[in-house]
Symmetry: C2
Subunit: 200 residues, 2 copies
DNA sequence: GTTGAAACCGACTCATCGGTCTGCTACGTT
DNA sequence: AACGTAGCAGACCGATGAGTCGGTTTCAAC
């Protein structure tokens, strides 16, 4: 491994460990010392790759959290049958036994709740992802209406926001109860709702 | 004002200021020094009334946050027409212009997201309230079915959880966007959903 | 008036935080 | 082989956190 590859590996290791720590403790409560310890690197290494904790947080968001969410939703947001695609996505998520997402909360939503009121950089980043998610979902529902899979009387924008809210909310409730059943029950409720939107 | 009354007043002042600070910054990020400054009291006074920060947090939850939520939902949880009662409650909440609840998030949910993974005391307290909320809402929906205002095919428990999730989720999204319209649009989505549950 | 305890004050401690700085090491370049 | 720099190590720094503790005030009881 040459120097550049090694440097990249160190950076990636920091990002991954930081992502875990932020997901677990939140951004403010996670400590750089803990990240250093768990990554097996030094303070010098961390501050060589990132100018400060905030920039590290932004990098974790941009390079770890955001791509993960976008990758997960890609099929739904690009297809013409959003209801079926979403139901399928949810089934897949529910099949992840022992997944941190189910009891540790959505990293996006965790960060949003914690940081958006106190840091504009985080707020804008999170807002950008949520807006893109909402817009894509709205468009997918409109395409579904055009394709005849979604009822015409559905308000696509409103329904998109409502769907997002119920997903994040279900994750939040599951996180508190530390019970994946709460999440799955919430998602089944969402699937019931989606069925009501389906054109007959 | 005698000694006892004055002591109670001090305690209440601490609780109210702490509730504001926790709501705004979260439990971990809010500082006792700031609470002391804003309450106009001394460190000695704070630690005379509360053994430590955690106990202060528990007291804020038990004596400020929880009663507020329960009081708000009382009509819905005790009536026989939950759908209409909820719609009315939401209309009332939406009419609160400039309310912290809309852009600062639900205090309950904020605390749940932040503290439930790392402190069992908070988790159990929050869980108790959420469980009570879910149970009461489920029972209200069942009474609604008995009274003929809610469709028979609705799964009450599942619907109750879904409603709670969408409310908390909508508040979360609104908090991030710092836009009350996001909250109201989410709530209108919920009202649309509730209409679908209504017996015709 | 004396006393005793509750209420309160605020300087202090100590741990930990994010962040800096000096210097070493190892590799790519010439 | 010599040199320069990217990558990294870790001791150190000031700020701030929660929490302590000896002292003072106030008031009710006797």
């Amino acid at each position: 491994m040459n120097t550049e590859q090694h440097s990249d590996a160190t950076r990636q290791k920091i990002l991954n460990v930081a992502a875990d720590e932020i997901h677990l403790h939140g951004f403010q409560a996670c400590s750089t010392s803990e990240i250093i310890k768990k990554a097996g690197i030094s303070k010098g290494a961390l501050y060589h790759h990132f100018t400060n904790k905030l920039e590290l947080g932004y990098a974790v968001f941009d390079e770890v959290f955001a791509p993960k969410l976008i990758g997960l939703w890609k099929p739904v947001l690009e297809g013409n049958n959003p209801i079926q695609d979403m139901s399928q996505l949810f089934q897949e998520i529910l099949s992840w036994t022992d997944c941190k997402m189910l009891t540790k909360g959505c990293p996006l939503n965790n960060l949003a709740q914690e940081m958006s009121p106190i840091d504009e950089g985080f707020r804008l980043r999170i807002g950008k992802i949520f807006d893109a998610w909402e817009l894509s979902l709205t468009k997918a529902l409109i395409r579904g209406q055009a394709a005849g899979t979604v009822k015409q009387e559905v308000n696509p924008k409103r329904a998109a926001l409502f769907i997002m809210a119920s997903i994040e909310g279900a994750q939040g409730l599951a996180k508190n109860s530390q019970d994946t059943k709460v999440f799955s029950e919430g998602i089944y409720g969402l699937i019931d709702y989606l069925k009501m939107l389906e054109a007959t």
